[in-house]
Amino acid sequence: MATASITVSETPLVLYTLRRADDALILGHRLSEWCGHAPMLEEDMALANIALDLLGQARELYSYAARVENKGHDEDKFAYLRDVRQYRNLLLLEQPNGDFARTMVRQVFYSVFADLYWRAMMKSDDPTLAAIAAKSEKESAYHVRHSSEWIVRLGDGTEESHRRAQTAIDDLWAFTGEMFAVDDGERGLIDAGIAIDAATLHDQWLKTVSDVVREATLTLPKNDWMQQGGRSGSHSEYLGHLLSELQSLQRTFPGAAW
């Protein structure tokens, strides 16, 4: 019999922390799907390493959310015992890997944001979030470099790699706006000095991404209609499939440990 989901008391700080934890877990899980399938051995190791960094960030964030919530939950319960509507990650990060170009475009969109975000969060008045930010910032700096080098290679590579990279940019563009969205609960945390206003990161993000894309001889779409919903639990069908794989063991054998 499958285990029931937990009920989370989503105070603003718990929700805020879970959103970032879910981002890291879901993208880390997506990248881990490449394990054994990457275009070459070095890339297989690179993607596994990036996934590991993200998983580590997720663990720290879930553990902190558990301490703040103080309802006896822990990192595993948050990861394994919430259903799809309780997940708070960005829609961008649950999008399927597709081909390698799509994975790298998703990665550069997110990593450039994450690098700016964590660097800004190092100044948070919340000491735990500031400490997690200091570690994550160094890691995401490597992720930015890795993914932007690939975008340039793919865009400025063959006709086929250029076409695939451009298609990925066009398809994923509408998911980028959600990274900069701020709701009322987050506004309170921003005013309290705990969170930073993600909207203020947009100009720098756009500049960095534009520079990479230009160097890659690719172009960014002109449309600015943006898809949102992940932060409040309205996900694409893809997340449900991802979670059924991620959670199957714990749902079938509750409390199973290594």
Binding site: N49, G56, Q57, K135, K138, A141
Partner: protein, 166 residues
């Protein structure tokens, strides 16, 4: 006769025991060489050890915690509390000079001295740990573990691991 040890003697003995624990992925380096061992405290005879992870997702941390517990028990202490601290964030600057030399002898190029953002992204000059040549190139930013990159020496043609600045 049982000698009565002061807290500072106890602390030193506990530190020495914990400092023998090696990184399971780079067994020539102790956690003291790496700067992962941050603090040892004694409270009423109970030992508390503080360590800091190298990378958020470093899979060696659980192993290191277990090894610290075992090392202290072997040295005659009761089971210690091992605490993981995140702040200040670990940096390769904490790696001892001794540790850097041991790494080089082991065949891994040690991290460059300063891990400022400039060093993270500036021109990297990494000497080959085999022949010492500066004529080297990066093959991949990500090597066999999260803390290493894969490099190649153009002089002796050998590939080698480089412990990345962090």
């Amino acid at each position: 006769m049982v000698a009565v040890l002061s807290d500072s003697d106890l602390r030193q003995r506990a530190w020495d025991a914990a400092a023998t624990v090696v990184d399971p992925e780079i067994p020539v380096l102790t956690i003291a060489d790496l700067g992962v061992l941050r603090d040892v405290q004694v409270h009423d005879g109970r030992i508390e050890v503080a360590i800091t992870p190298t990378y958020s997702g470093c899979p060696a941390m659980n192993m290191i915690i277990l090894e610290i517990e075992l090392a202290l028990e072997r040295a005659g202490f009761a089971r210690p509390t091992v605490r993981t601290i995140l702040s200040p964030a670990w940096t390769t600057d904490w790696m001892s000079e001794d540790g850097r030399n041991k790494l080089r002898k082991y065949g891994i190029a040690p991290p460059q001295a300063s891990s400022s953002r400039r060093a993270l992204f500036g021109d990297q000059q990494v000497a080959c740990p085999q022949c010492g040549s500066d004529n080297t190139e990066v093959l991949s930013e990500f090597g066999s573990t999260s803390c290493k990159a894969l490099w190649r020496c153009k002089s002796c043609r050998e590939p080698f691991d480089y412990f990345k600045c962090h």
